[in-house]
Symmetry: C2
Subunit: 293 residues, 2 copies
């Protein structure tokens, strides 16, 4: 479906820029917008975006598919514009990392029937037009969160869209999605930022780190606009995950402080067993998460 479509991509950063490249390479006509004029110019010059949308997204009326690739707060602010400008589009999607509020905003904006929230579980700490690449979504898992009103046709179209990009889709309730992401994605990101600030205060530059320390601080290089929006949007679940993590760190610190070597070893062994996949292959559902807690 991509080759025959006119696709509007709003936001040409890492995710939107990668999507624009991927659909452009597959023959779509791409309409693009980014509030950063330099990124938009670059995308036009690269021949990836064929036509620029105006600041008020005028021009979007011609799109069959619209994809918002913005931080979650900007996504919610932009959805009412889609109700005016993309009434005839067959599919509206966003790529934000949280889905509950976006799906609610789509319903309030009156675009619930065409809308499918999408969250590709892929990325990089890099941001901006130059960080994108056409292959970003190859083999990636993409969570799809329909609204309560999304038509079966729109869901099928979204599945086909991502299949053509060689991604694997999984339907998920938006609340379940956000709760899971608090643990599996938002917690690790915030941990990395907190480590960065800790090392800064200790006077240690990133260049002094070995491969382990570099991995653990990579995510601190991510877009802070995007991540502060995620933190605000999923605050309750994130606070719960951070609290649980702080309790584990405290237990480990106390074991080390009191020379409880057996306790320390047990905690490390438990982490290693998990790493080795003793839980591998379980289906991740929110019911499952709720059962565990």
């Amino acid at each position: 479906m991509i080759a025959d479509s006119t696709i509007a991509v709003v936001g040409l950063g890492l995710m939107g820029g990668s999507l624009a490249r991927a659909v452009s390479a597959r023959g779509a006509r791409v309409l693009g917008y980014d509030q950063n004029g330099a990124h938009l110019d670059h995308a036009l010059r690269d021949g990836v975006v064929h036509e620029a949308l105006e600041r008020d997204l005028k021009g979007m009326e011609a799109a069959d598919v619209v994809v918002l690739a913005l931080p979650v707060d900007a996504t919610c602010r932009t959805l009412p514009v889609l109700a005016r400008r993309a009434a005839t589009a067959r599919l509206l999607m966003d790529l934000a990392s949280t889905k509950r509020s976006v799906v609610a905003c789509a319903e309030s904006a009156g675009v619930g029937e065409q809308f499918v929230g999408a969250h590709p579980l892929t990325g990089s700490h890099r941001s901006g037009w130059s960080a994108g690449r056409a292959s970003l979504f190859e083999s990636a898992r993409v969570f799809l969160c329909p609204t309560s009103r999304t038509t079966p046709a729109a869901v099928l179209l979204a599945e086909q869209f991502w299949r053509e990009l060689h991604a694997h889709t999984e339907a998920l309730d938006p609340c379940d999605h956000d709760e899971e992401m608090a643990w599996s994605s938002h917690l690790p990101h915030l941990m990395s930022s907190a480590l960065a600030v800790t090392l800064r205060d200790a006077g240690i530059p990133r260049s002094a780190l070995g491969p382990g320390g570099r991995d653990m601080t990579r995510l601190a290089g991510s877009s802070t606009a995007m991540w502060s929006a995620i933190a605000a949007d999923n605050a309750d679940a994130i606070v719960q995950a951070l609290s649980a993590y702080e309790a584990q760190l405290r237990a480990l610190r106390e074991a080390i402080a009191t020379r409880g070597e057996e306790k320390t070893r047990t905690l490390l062994d438990e982490g290693r067993e998990w790493f080795d996949g003793e839980m591998g292959g379980e289906t991740l559902t929110c019911d499952h998460l709720r059962r565990q807690r």
Copy 2:
């Protein structure tokens, strides 16, 4: 110097196994030992280790260079054996991740003159003979910590040894080394293990994670024998680093919980600035660390 030498490597895991491969490939005669008989057999069968040392390290007498590649506690227990069996060796080294107690043990054991503690800032979360590779030390930074009695000849020999493996050596006081590593290496490792246990308790398998979560949990797959020994050996400095990190996490959690979006953004921005290298290029010394705190 490597090509002309007989080199004994005690411990054929990731670090020792890599070192044995690297010196064997450069023409050294390699004597090897590992308490895991399967690893030792494998190393002999691969033609990397030319002769096995006995369980009491008999046979080491023929070595010009001895390298202990053991967890830090086992390193300290083994040093007195070197005093008996390696009295004529020109250079004794270890590869443990902490150096203060090892250097003290070497002095107590009476091998201080020939001994240079070495810590290559490289590795992998994988362990055992099969995890090793001859190129592990290429371009790696290697901290060298002499004892108070190490002869200049032994230091020069150690520098030459690592130069021949294309590593970059940096001399460092063992106390300074351990204090720095608490922040730059031990803290990130323990953070990763604590995240693994947190995700296990939440019922989330590693296979459910995206690239960010996978990076943040990689170190939890490391050897737990090695890391519990490090935690015990460097407990005070590690507790200090963990406490500082916990304070940062708490500040971030409180900002998110109270919807302090500006505070959240400021913390993330500080981490991002550090990531972007605004502190890059500073010389890392312990005095510097002490000044900061």
